[in-house]
Symmetry: C2
Subunit: 282 residues, 2 copies
């Protein structure tokens, strides 16, 4: 299983100006790719701290580190400088990146009539850590950057979600050396009128019986309180082969059986609804 | 200035099942309180890793560490155990926490007719690191937990947003020893038809002139591309006194002046809109 850490650069994430939807999107994608996301770290636009966070992640030796943000043309876009610093490498002008940037400027000039020059700020986006490769950005100007350090591949993508997604899907997915026999399966059981703590025992029994299946409860507090009732989602997941997936179904059936023996509130019978019947494709 | 780190416990955050809106909400609140959020770390429900992340944060000596998640009654709610492990302390039954939990069960019993017992799972929520205090949860069963280690205050709140928010606003805000003379000010300038990289120079000049003001550009990619145009938000922020806030206005005026001298696309004049006129109250 490929292990991954995500590092998100950006004051706007710490200030609460921007919700970190990038980490969420990447988390979903990585699950579908069969990779294991172990940690997400968000840090502000301070060069020393950015470099430190990269070094700390390298010590834990994940197969892949994905960084988001800090690749644009402004003063506070320091991802390349921070990664170079963390790896104790120089920055070098990457000619392929210059080509990508020129191509993008030409495109914008043709499509939108913008008069754009290859300014110093724009050339800054082509200054990458020595030995790095660049990744084409079909949705914006800043190229992605990929550099290997020992056994860890560091991949940097812009923070703008459309650019991050485009680079990930077009350029990065292929670096995940996947087990074609395994897929991510998930099912949800939504239970009303039984509190989470009452469900705890039912779930711990099933967990012991199916150690490769992950079962977790999530109280739906806001939706539920709006209707004045208790609602808990039991989320059952497994990364497994099609044959093993039958265990997931069995676990689901067993949990439902146990819940059916339970009492709800005095005036309401427990309500059970099954969701997410489909397995996720890669 | 009070320094803060947030640690979010929860596989659902890494899997991409749940967007980390808690870190965003807390980030906003901390900015308004005049505190400096330095880092957010998200980690899965693995006891050793949870304890490690807490230990790593303690080494950096922030004034406050806020943890979210892992306080409920189920097997994977391990925040108290992880913090106790990180601090090398025992867990102890907190009688006040038992009181809070009983009070909550009584309330649910009266209001919703639930027949709820003080099960082992529920008592588990009252097992806190030795020396910890507990914080009343008005929106759910799991009490918040607060424990001091050297000069760092570790505050744990549940991951359910309504409970996290309720505990933060009712119980935690008072621990922030604020500078009453400073407030958080922000203004935004939204510019159409000039790309971010063109704006970079205008902004770097203003930044040098007003070192206490933070200016950052955010391309509005998705909104903008939908309309086939370029849109960049210039976000100007400062934590300062009312008198100093005049600098923020000046910086805004100067940036607008510089932008007005710039060319947009060949067929479109740059469009400038000012937003967020209000200062944020504490």
């Amino acid at each position: 299983m490929i292990t991954v850490e995500i590092i998100c650069f950006g004051n706007e994430l710490l200030f609460g100006k921007t919700i970190n939807t990038n980490a969420n999107w990447l988390g979903k994608r990585l699950v579908m790719l069969g990779a294991e996301l172990q940690r997400v770290t968000t840090i502000g636009d301070i060069l020393e701290e950015m470099a430190e966070v990269v070094q700390e992640a390298l010590i834990r030796k994940p197969n892949v580190i994905i960084t988001t943000g800090g690749l644009g043309p402004t003063f506070d876009d320091m991802a390349n400088t921070a990664i170079a610093k963390a790896l104790n490498r120089e920055l070098e002008l990457n000619e392929q990146a210059v080509g990508f940037i020129k191509e993008r400027l030409d495109k914008l000039q043709k499509e939108r009539g913008l008069e754009l020059k290859l300014t110093e700020e724009r050339l800054g986006m082509a200054m990458v850590p020595k030995g790095a490769e660049v990744l084409k950005n079909r949705a914006g100007s800043a190229p992605g950057v990929m550099v290997k350090e020992n056994d860890t591949l560091i991949i940097s993508v812009p923070g703008v979600p459309s650019e991050m997604k485009s680079i990930f899907d077009h350029e990065i997915t292929k670096y995940f050396d996947l087990d074609p026999t395994k897929q991510f399966y998930e099912r949800s059981i939504v239970v009303n009128h039984i509190p989470e703590s009452e469900l705890a025992k039912a779930i711990s029994e099933t967990r012991e019986k199916y150690p490769t299946i992950y079962v977790k409860t999530h109280p739906h507090s806001s939706k539920a309180s709006a209707k004045g009732m208790i609602e808990v989602e039991i989320h059952i997941t497994s990364l497994c082969s099609d044959e093993e997936a039958v265990n997931l179904r069995e676990a689901e059936v067993e949990i439902v059986k146990i819940i059916k023996t339970m009492k709800g509130t005095s005036d309401k019978k427990p309500k059970i609804a099954l969701q997410n019947n489909d397995k996720k494709s890669k």
